[in-house]
């Protein structure tokens, strides 16, 4: 999966990939004070593509709000909401909305799920539908945080650790391997990293083509940018 941290105040964005075996569960957001947990499980391609590249994507998200007693499981097939012992299932094939006292869900058919947990967090899960007969690829999900300002300063996770910003400086831009993607040195969290200018795509407004977002790419699973390394975020279960 491709991670993107857009920082409008710095007029720039950071990005990195996390690659691991399909089936791995990663913690994306954890805020113990607010009682919020977001985990995602990766899936791979149906089979290894001829170029030998093993791609992984998120195929399942588990979202918990302990205070509200809400538990949400989003897969590429459906969305299951549990609250106070009651369970509801929504299908991606329907446009639907569900409104509770503290939880709003809005499903746009075959496209997106917007979740608002009152006074806490708002996010969108994008469904990427892949042609069923595609020899290698299969449906997968994207996770976009829309509003996280109410989360506590201790919020962490692969995305959550950036919710309150990150300071960095880029210097010494130089030609990279690819003439369109220069390299540079980034000073972040007390370390000097070699980063590469590139693009990743934001699919919120155009789920088919996405919109290219220029960003500084941090190599090696985001090492040096994320706290610890990516294996520290591996979880044993979705909830």
């Amino acid at each position: 999966p491709h991670f993107m941290i857009e920082l409008p105040e710095q007029e720039d964005a950071l990005c990195f990939n996390i690659d691991d075996r399909p089936g791995t569960i990663f913690n994306l957001v954890r805020d113990q004070l607010a009682g919020i947990l977001v985990n995602g499980q990766t899936i791979g391609d149906k089979k290894v593509a001829p170029d030998g590249k093993v791609n992984t994507y998120f195929g399942r998200f588990g979202i918990v709000h302990q205070g509200l007693g809400v538990r949400l499981e989003v897969t590429t097939h459906d969305i299951t909401v549990s609250q106070d012992g009651k369970q509801a299932k929504l299908l991606w094939s329907d446009t639907a909305s569900l409104k509770g006292a503290n939880l709003d869900l809005q499903v746009t058919k075959d496209r997106s799920l917007t979740v608002t947990l009152r006074d806490s967090v708002r996010f969108v899960v994008i469904l990427h539908k892949v042609w069923k007969q595609h020899p290698y690829h299969q449906d997968y999900l994207g996770f976009y945080t829309l509003d996280s300002h109410l989360l506590s300063p201790s919020v962490h996770g692969l995305l959550g650790q950036f919710y309150h910003g990150v300071q960095f400086e880029v210097r010494d831009m130089r030609p990279g391997e690819d003439p369109e993607k220069p390299d540079a040195t980034m000073l972040v969290k007390g370390q000097e990293l070699t980063v590469t200018r590139g693009w990743q795509r934001d699919f919120r407004w155009d789920v088919k083509n996405g919109e290219n977002v220029p960003c500084w790419f941090i190599h090696s699973n985001g090492n040096g940018l994320i706290d610890g390394n990516h294996t520290d975020y591996i979880m044993s279960g979705l909830f």
Binding site: P1, L158, L159, F162, P182, W205
Partner: protein
């Protein structure tokens, strides 16, 4: 530029208005004092309602001028540029009222560059005034900074106000206004020291909007007719008319997506709007999600008691569920028609439905063309529809077309702390109809290519503008007639128009107004053709598009059908690079608005960084 090695030594905004038609030229010159070439940015915010007409860059004695071309043809050039990794696309949305034109060029060491951008627009009268807005942000102290406006209004200037959002008490005396009967001159030229944020520092105070607001005298019931060089324009907004009572149904979206601030602001605005109803108005309230509810099943007179009861109802509106726009509008039309049949309200009253919604219909009829058809059929020209599109996710084009198909208009309400004020402001614009079914007549044998000359209503504080081309220069019998319905009786005025001698009206001026009326006519015609392109039948759409394109090219207007192609100079590192200035459509603006302000990027395609941080994970 932030680079202090590039000195911006001159910024001049010169605006000339003749009878509401504004022609603005922005000129900026810079010098690269460095020993190496530097990138210089030229960024200008211009009103959404304006059309760019010209752009040029003068670099080392050579001038590069923009050329207006058919959009499709320009796009081919653009695509070629994009495919070779070059940048393109000069215009982006910028805030609520403006769009941003930006271009950058590499300037050789010790060289000058001068950018000149020209745009034109017909100023619209809203709430009794015209507004000229200029956004200035020079980023550094400028040796010669000047905003100058000359306004020529043959009807006479009733009042004029000029101020800047960035103007402190110290800068206020620098705004010079000279207003005589038919002419106004406004200038603002701070010296470098006066521009400084503080003594000795380099920061500039000049950062914000410079606004000029004015109105003209309105003595004649017939309005003002100007004839210049074979074209005429008629400004109609008679003084001292009593208001016409109105029948209004407010249709309020209370679906789930309205939750939180939007619902709260809607309730707040409705409370004020209800207070502003006149006692002779009749009103109704329909609220909807996937269920349609009414306050009362029929229109109610706006007595103090009824308004007070309605306010109680408004306070109970809660958000929930899906969005059934079709059902809600059908219900509103039904209430209005029943009332008409029962002849409860005055025969001469004006009927309108005001829809406030934030979203796409997803319950009941969800096909937007079908809703438009249903609404048009149901309203049958008997009432007007005004739509307020709340927030960023609303399908504004759908509302815009539907309003115009029913003799109304749509307005976007931006999410923000002032949404309540925006809602109230819009209501104020349409709250007081003065006339209905306004028909403006001109001699058939003397005019052609007339712009729209029938209007469903005239609202207090607005103005009807009709322009046309004269087929005959003999103006002995240019009879103008206006027929409309007033509150008590029919409004009928007739009068003879004659050509004005502009060189006599403004003898000390050089003859600068030669083609202003013609361009005003062209601007208005193109705007109306573009509107018909969205709302007309298939045949009308085709004809309107072809005609609007032809006129846009003829008059060199950058409209949604044309683009301006600018060729940048070739440098050592880069190939010749065509750039495209487009007129954004509302959909394009909406998309850009969601993504936030423009940020120049170091590498790659243009992308607008969102205004708030975004964190996501996805595939590629």
């Amino acid at each position: 530029t932030d680079n202090m090695e590039v000195e911006v030594y001159s910024v001049k905004v010169a605006c000339k208005v003749a009878s509401r038609f504004a022609h603005t030229v922005i000129t900026s010159s810079a010098l690269n004092k460095a020993n190496s070439s530097q990138e210089v940015f030229f960024e200008v915010d211009l009103p959404k309602t304006a059309f760019i007409t010209n752009f040029s860059m003068e670099i080392q004695g050579q001038t590069y001028t923009g050329e207006v071309k058919e959009k499709e043809k320009a796009k081919k050039q653009y695509e070629k540029a994009v495919s070779t990794g070059q940048t393109a696309g000069l215009v982006k949305a910028s805030g609520r009222k403006m769009e941003k034109f930006s271009v950058s060029v590499n300037i050789a060491a010790n060289s000058n560059v001068t950018f000149i951008l020209t745009y034109e627009e017909l100023l619209q009268r809203k709430l009794g005034q015209y507004e000229i807005m200029t956004r200035v942000k020079p980023k550094q102290l400028v040796q010669h900074f000047e905003i100058v406006a000359d306004i020529y209004e043959p009807q006479g200037i009733a009042f004029l106000d000029a101020y800047g959002t960035f103007i402190s008490n110290e800068l206020l005396p620098l705004v010079e206004k000279t207003v005589t009967d038919k002419k106004a001159h406004i200038s603002f030229c701070p010296t470098m020291d006066q521009q400084r944020k503080c003594p000795g520092c380099d920061g500039t105070l000049i950062d914000g909007d410079f606004l000029i607001k004015y109105d003209v005298n309105r003595a004649e019931a017939l309005g003002d007719i100007q004839i210049v060089n074979g074209y005429f324009v008629h400004f109609f907004a008679p003084p001292d008319l009593p208001r016409v009572p109105k029948n209004v149904v407010f249709v309020i979206d209370r679906s789930g997506s309205m939750s939180g601030n939007k619902m709260h602001q809607t309730r707040e605005a409705m409370l004020t709007i209800l207070n502003d109803l006149h006692e002779d108005d009749y009103f109704g309230i329909v609220t909807f999600d996937h269920v349609i509810s009414t306050w009362k099943e029929s229109l109610t007179k706006a007595t103090t008691e009824n308004v007070s009861e309605a306010k109680g109802f408004v306070q109970t509106i809660q958000d929930n569920g899906y969005t059934d726009i079709n059902g809600a509008l059908m219900k509103a039309v039904d209430i209005m028609m029943k009332d008409k049949q029962a002849k409860k309200s005055t025969e001469r009253s004006v009927s309108m439905i005001i829809l406030l919604t934030d979203g796409m219909p997803n319950s009941g009829v969800s096909s937007t063309p079908q809703i438009q058809k249903n609404v048009r059929d149901a309203m049958g020209g008997n009432m007007s529809l005004f739509c307020l599109g709340f927030g960023n996710d609303v399908d504004y084009s759908f509302l815009d077309v539907m309003s115009r198909q029913n003799q109304g208009l749509a307005r976007r309400i931006y999410e923000g702390s002032d949404a309540t004020v925006q809602l109230q402001g819009f209501y104020k614009e349409v709250a007081s109809p003065l006339l209905s079914e306004v028909d403006l007549h001109y001699p058939d044998n003397l005019v052609n290519s007339l712009t729209t000359s029938h209007y469903k209503q005239l609202f207090n504080g607005s103005e009807i503008v009709v322009a046309g081309r004269l087929t005959d220069n003999s103006l002995d019998n240019f009879l103008v007639e206006v027929f409309a319905k007033g509150p008590e009786e029919d409004f009928i005025v007739k009068g003879q128009a004659s050509a004005q001698e502009w060189d006599i009206l403004y003898p000390e001026q050089e003859y600068i107004f030669g083609d202003f009326t013609e361009r005003l006519w062209a601007y208005l015609t193109i705007q109306q053709l573009l509107s018909m392109k969205e709302t007309g039948t298939a045949e009308e759409k085709g004809n309107a598009t072809a005609q609007a394109l032809e006129m846009s090219l003829q008059y060199s207007f950058v409209t949604p059908l044309t683009s301006m192609v600018v060729t940048k100079p070739e440098t050592d590192e880069e190939q010749e690079e065509p750039l495209i200035a487009d007129k954004l459509t509302e959909d394009e603006r909406q998309k850009a608005q969601r993504l936030g302000p423009v940020v120049p990027q170091m590498v790659g395609n243009s992308y607008m960084m969102p205004s708030s941080p975004t964190y996501f994970v996805d595939g590629d």
